[in-house]
Amino acid sequence: MTRKNLLIIAAAILAIILGIALTRGQKDPAAEKRPAKSRGYAGLLDFLTAPDSNPESKEVNPDEVPSYEIEEAKIIKDVIIEKDPVCSGEDFKVTVVGHNPNGPDKHLVYRIGDRMGNPAILRFNQPGTREFYVVARDEGKHIDHRVVQVQVRECPEKPVVVLKARMHNTAPESGIFEVTSQKGLAEPCTYEWDFGDGKKTTTNTGYATHSYSDRVQTELQSSYIISIKVTDSQNKSVDARASISFPNIHYISRLMGQPILPVTADKFATWSGGTYEVKATIKNIFESQVEFDEAELEIKPCDSSYPPTVKVVAAREIMDTTALSSLETLTQTMRMSKALLGPSSCNVLVTFSGPFDKSSRVTAKMYVDIPPTSARDIDPARDKTVTDRAMVDKLNKAAQILGPGKPITPEDLERLEREGKL
């Protein structure tokens, strides 16, 4: 091999190595302990796609980042276990008695085992001495832990129903409750639910959802114990419980100086006599009277490539009653004229606002969808035409049941399927 060939091969190998270094950043974990600047040339081509800024000069110097210390505090006074020992799979209630040394007790947030909230329902499947942690903290910096033990034993003859509670993935302020296991009961069963907020229902399946949106928010966190009584075909019944907890965001909004009132409203506006109408409920969760004097409308066009337009009108142009006394809940029909919204509008955010506690303003926000009615209002960037034949058939059938011209949500389809109508 000539010297020239060797040089060409060496140059090619060098080029390959350089190329890998420029395009990939994989390296051994030990090498990562070095500062980013000294990590070879990985990322040298980033400037081609990086946003405008100068990250090289921004490498973090931890000593220059302002920090705050999380401090241990004596918050947990007692942990009360409903029963000990418990059977495997059996639920038991745990209640924490806490006191906030740095503020109000209602500003404490609790976690018991793997559940947020206080009290909480726990369950262990495997027998033995079982351990769980209780955590309590205040609004920010202070925290307390306690480790708790409970004896779990086998009870083979005992019928057990396992009820699980989880946060709803698509419905704010709601929970999903499901019986995931039932031993020692003969099908079919009836299920009597108590959602812990005074609301009850009966179903013939072990599945339910429930909204806690109209709860009173007087603390950082609201916790509920959900009970179910499962009765089988031979009239034998077994009880089970689960717990769920919600952060009180409206309450926190006031602590942050921007108070917001909860609003529940129809998802879709209805068209009636030249106006769009929406039935909405506003709950004044605060102890001060509220009077809305202004309504800001952020109107989003159906085509999302156009920016929203903002209009400000007097609140009374949209709502008949603008005042809510302390803790009052008010349901009324909100009206928006077509002239106000303009053509090809698909979504409106209405922010009602009014003076509050002399120095700030309280708001209530209502989101309204206006489904398009013509092909020109299809959003070319985001909307998707349904082409799957089976789905089209399903939607046609759902439209016959729900009524023509109405929008159909995936929840509608799920409900109709569960009811065996699709």
Binding site: G25, A30, P66, E69, N102, G103, M116, V147, T170, T385
Partner: protein, 330 residues
């Protein structure tokens, strides 16, 4: 032309014209009430969520809106997809040994963008219930939206692994858009870096050694309980890992996770952490700690951890999901 041919032709024309003008079903995707640069907070259950719960945090996951309510970019890890390594005897697979150390230390998918339908309905990385949007206070909206848009652009650019060890040391995300083994962050740390690389260094929590020790013990207990009681934290992972119970391997996996959390020793299934964790100070942020700027409670204490100068986020709004729905147009 014969009559039958004419009739068939007319019918075909009618059929096609009906098909052409019959209308169509269209799906309008879900969206949320976030603007570009807002932080989206979510609660939930599971292994990842338990890490933040160690600090008593209500919100256990966070991401950033990278446009006006259609997409969220966030950093997460699918624990159920970490491969399990097995012991072998004479080339025959026997008992489970540990989680794949590389995947445990460098979690996937890492930083990713998901549309609202996907993240709330399919992957369920975010929950609507208990959800919240962190945004500038109304008075600062005009001044802060530009910088927050810039933070969202940085977030869009950043790529990296989900790092369990970032709960101990948050300073491990580079300004790059490719994966680097041993580098990355957790969810809130990634949001912090998006703000940092666009010019805003938010306050960061320092957690003293005694508290780190408590958190490590709590994490260990939590993992053992999840494995033993099918508490749901591991998802499909539990199916495999349940076979570990009684073999002592559940405790090994718990050790491996705590060793990774505290020391990034993802290959180590021993109780290495127990005698050493009491000397560590952690530096990490949590979603809850973005709230309550300069807040003074009724007892005149100031438990808030951010200040008006350390954060753009001065207001919390309840999450609102505008329904995804099908509509018919002619």
């Amino acid at each position: 032309m014969r009559l039958t041919t004419k009739v068939v032709t007319v019918m075909l024309v009618l059929l096609f014209s009906t098909a052409l003008f019959a209308g169509q079903w269209v799906y309008k995707p879900m969206s949320i009430n976030a603007k570009k640069g807002d932080v989206v907070l979510s609660g939930g259950e599971g292994f990842i969520h338990d890490m933040l719960a160690l600090l008593g945090c209500y919100w256990s996951h966070s991401g950033m809106a990278v446009d006006d309510g259609a997409n969220i970019r966030h950093n997460t890890m699918y624990v159920s997809e970490i491969p399990i390594e097995y012991n072998y005897f004479l080339w025959i697979k026997t008992t489970p040994k540990r989680l794949n150390p590389t995947r445990l230390s460098n979690g996937l998918p890492g930083i990713l963008t998901e549309d609202i339908d996907t993240t709330y309905n399919v992957t369920k990385n975010f929950n609507a219930a208990g959800g919240a949007i962190l945004k500038p206070a109304a008075a600062n909206e005009a001044a802060y939206r530009g910088p927050l848009n810039a933070a969202a652009d940085v977030m869009n650019y950043l790529k990296g692994y989900y790092r369990v060890n970032a709960y101990m040391n948050m300073y491990q995300l580079d300004y790059v858009n490719y994966f680097i083994t041993g580098r990355g962050n957790h969810c809130s740390g990634t949001n912090w870096y998006a703000n940092y690389y666009s010019g805003k260094a938010m306050n960061v929590a320092s957690i003293p050694p005694s508290l780190v020790a408590t958190c490590s013990n709590s994490l260990y207990t939590s993992v053992v309980n999840m494995v033993r009681d099918d508490a749901g934290g591991f998802g499909a992972f539990i199916i495999d890992i349940e076979g570990l119970f009684g073999t002592g391997a559940d405790e090994k996996v718990a050790n491996q996770i705590v060793n990774t959390f505290a020391f990034d020793r993802s290959t180590d299934t021993s109780s290495y952490w127990r005698s050493r964790v009491g000397s560590l100070t952690a530096v990490a942020n949590a979603p809850d700690h973005l709230l309550l700027q300069s807040y003074t409670n009724p007892s005149s204490r100031n438990p808030g951890v951010q200040t008006a100068s350390s954060s753009y986020y001065g207001q919390v709004d309840p999450l609102v999901i505008t329904a995804g729905y099908y509509y018919w147009v002619d």
